[in-house]
């Protein structure tokens, strides 16, 4: 057992680069994504968007090593993620999968403590650094007063914040979230997205998230990756990606794209369904 260097909870973790090279992904015999190259900007918020079945979740799951690529590799600071001890990866990259199920009777504090697993030794013994990281994660997610509540007594938004707190307790420079706003009402969706914005602005965290809602993706991200039929259709700033063409070609929707004066970000107003989107 090696003892780990203590990380100051508030200090920004060293920037870590995440990059995918020549990835081919799929399930059983079905190939979903072919020869994909992608790198995520360090210290920025990246939103991955695309229609159902486009492969956007598949890409993000592979980037978080939850899905083993059929070929190609994901590199974390230049080192292949599949050849790096998984606990070591978990100290640099946290992932919140889609719709995690909450065990009955689990308190927020216990859940957040789970985030310290990759920092603990074989027997799971905890240190002062662990307690500090948990306290910090609870504070960042405004859950200090909820620490002793069980997850089933929380609202959807609070519960999602608790899961994010667990990922924060890992104290990683990169946070990956697969549809973190699913099943939440509009207010709670914004609550989660604003929290991620704060974490990015204050901690310099690289945030990578799959989002369904295009306007929210544009509003809350610095970088957008549009995925279509297993390929990157376009990536860049929200201005460059959220276009009439994107809606037309990728989503099969006629839409107006306008600029929101307050945020300076584009937003779309769908008008009508176009013909079947091109495959």
């Amino acid at each position: 057992m090696t003892s780990l260097p203590m990380i100051e909870p508030s200090a920004a973790a060293p920037p870590t680069e995440l990059r995918a090279s020549d990835l081919t992904l799929g399930y059983d015999d079905r190939i979903v994504v072919r020869s994909l190259d992608l790198s995520f900007p360090i210290g920025r918020i990246t939103a991955v968007v695309g229609p159902n079945g486009s492969g956007k979740s598949t890409i993000v799951r592979a980037a978080a090593r939850l899905l083993r690529p059929k070929s190609g590799a994901v590199f974390l600071d230049g080192k292949a993620i599949a050849r790096t001890p998984t606990k070591e990866v978990a100290r640099r990259l946290a992932v919140l999968p889609q719709g995690p199920s909450s065990p009955e009777g689990l308190t927020v504090e216990r859940l957040v403590w789970s985030g310290r697993y990759p920092h603990q030794g074989f027997l799971g013994t905890s240190s002062v650094g662990d307690a500090e990281a948990v306290a910090w994660a609870l504070q960042q997610t405004h859950l200090v007063d909820f620490a002793q509540r069980t997850l089933d007594t929380l609202s959807g938004g609070e519960r999602q914040r608790a899961w994010i707190a667990m990922a924060l307790a890992q104290q990683t420079p990169i946070l990956i979230l697969d549809e973190p706003t699913t099943f939440l009402d509009l207010g709670h969706q914004l609550e989660v997205l604003e929290l991620l914005g704060e974490l990015n602005a204050q901690q310099g965290m690289t945030v990578i998230m799959v989002l369904h809602e295009l306007n929210q993706a544009a509003r809350y991200s610095d970088h957008m990756v549009a995925v279509h039929a297993g390929r990157i259709w376009r990536q860049g700033t929200p201005d460059e990606v959220l276009t009439q063409e994107l809606l037309e070609v990728v989503f099969g929707v006629h839409a107006d794209v306008r600029l929101d004066g307050a945020s300076g970000k584009p937003y779309c107003v769908p008008l009508a369904r176009a013909a079947e989107p091109a495959e």
């Binding site: 978080a64 090593r65 939850l66 001890p85 998984t86 606990k87 070591e88 990866v89 978990a90 100290r91 946290a94 992932v95 919140l96 999968p97 995690p100 199920s101 065990p103 009955e104 009777g105 689990l106 308190t107 216990r110 859940l111 789970s114 985030g115 697993y117 990759p118 603990q120 027997l123 799971g124 002062v128 307690a131 500090e132 948990v134 306290a135 069980t150 667990m166 990922a167 890992q170």
Partner: protein
């Protein structure tokens, strides 16, 4: 934060001391009751003096090993159930319902009734192999991109039925032999006639199994979050689950091999403990162990003292307590049963 933790572990220590005192008192009383009643003071005296007097010999040679066996078997079954319920995220997973008990039972009956001349150490070993095999069969049959609660329960019921039919077949075919009664008592779950020999056979399994379970309890907490979250936290989920299931199988199968099929302890006790103290398996496992030990100890006290001339299997009492409680749990729940 740190001070809070210190206060908490302080009150935890007091709680453990109180519990240990209660268990100790139950144990002293248990050692005193039976066909020859011995007052608690005399039990203590006999324990200190050793098997020199008649009371001393009754306590040492007969009651003490049986008491320790009851506690170990109860603890092992409860821990096994707690692990299985945790790693499969399924409140129905227990040694009884996932086939371990039935498989161990079949193997043990084969040894007792068919291979009569086998040396004593073969019985627990055979029960262990039988339990592990049937547990593995159920687990593999239930596997379809993970083990779902329904599939595990249904395949468990099916495999259990097959082994029970095999047991009935063996017992029926050998019914003329004197061992048949021994086999029947064994199947109902009993510590009748068990002593130091059986305790020594069980002890290595208890020590390794219980220690392993306690050391890995924190991994159950992580697995409870689901495989995707656990993998994201840097756990090798399949390996962790396999290790924990192997420990659960070893604990249950070795317990069944000396005491027979004790009903419901592995199902009800972990469930009850989770309701009382929550989902942290670092606490659920030791508390389940304690509660399982006490339940079987009391059930065995009743079993050997309720009728003066005949002893009845303790497994009947654990079933009598466990089954109604289990029904109550099902009735009380409005939602789907889950961990």
């Amino acid at each position: 934060m740190i001070r809070v933790a210190a206060v908490r572990s302080g009150s935890m220590l007091v709680g453990w001391l109180v519990l240990a005192g209660i268990v100790g008192a139950i144990a002293i009383v248990s050692l005193g009751i039976g066909q020859v009643s011995i007052a608690p003071g005399e039990v203590l005296g006999a324990l200190l003096a050793g098997p020199t007097t008649l009371e001393g010999r009754i306590v040492f040679d007969l009651r003490l090993p049986r008491l320790l066996l009851a506690m170990l078997v109860g603890a092992q079954l409860a821990i096994s159930g707690a692990i299985l319920q945790g790693v499969t995220r399924n409140a129905l997973a227990s040694p009884d319902l996932v086939g371990i008990t039935a498989g161990a039972g079949f193997a043990a009956v084969l040894i007792v009734l068919v291979f009569v001349d086998a040396p004593a150490f073969v019985l627990p070993l055979a029960a262990l192999i039988g339990g592990a095999t049937s547990g593995a069969i159920v687990y593999l049959l239930a596997w379809k991109q993970g083990v779902s609660p329904e599939r595990l329960a249904l395949t468990g019921i099916a495999v259990t039925a097959i082994f029970q039919a095999a047991v009935t077949a063996v017992v029926t075919l050998r019914v003329e032999q004197a061992q048949a009664q021994q086999a029947l008592r064994w199947l109902a779950g009993s510590l009748y006639g068990r002593g130091w020999d059986e305790l020594l056979v069980l002890l290595p399994w208890s020590v390794v199994g219980i220690a392993g379970a306690m050391l890995l309890a924190h991994k159950v907490n992580i697995l409870l979050l689901g495989d995707a979250v656990a993998s994201g936290l840097g756990m090798r989920t399949e390996r962790a689950r396999m290790t924990l299931v192997a420990i659960a199988i070893a604990l249950a199968a070795s317990a069944v091999s000396v005491a027979g099929t004790m009903a419901f302890i592995g199902l009800v006790i972990p469930h009850l403990i989770r309701l009382l103290i929550g989902a942290n398996h670092r606490l659920v496992l030791p508390f389940s162990a304690l509660a399982g030990a006490v339940l079987l100890l009391v059930a065995d006290d009743v079993a050997r003292t309720v009728f003066e001339t005949r002893e009845i299997p303790a497994g009947l009492f654990t079933a009598l307590i466990g089954a109604p409680y289990f029904i109550y749990l099902i009735m009380r729940r409005k939602t789907q049963i889950s961990v």
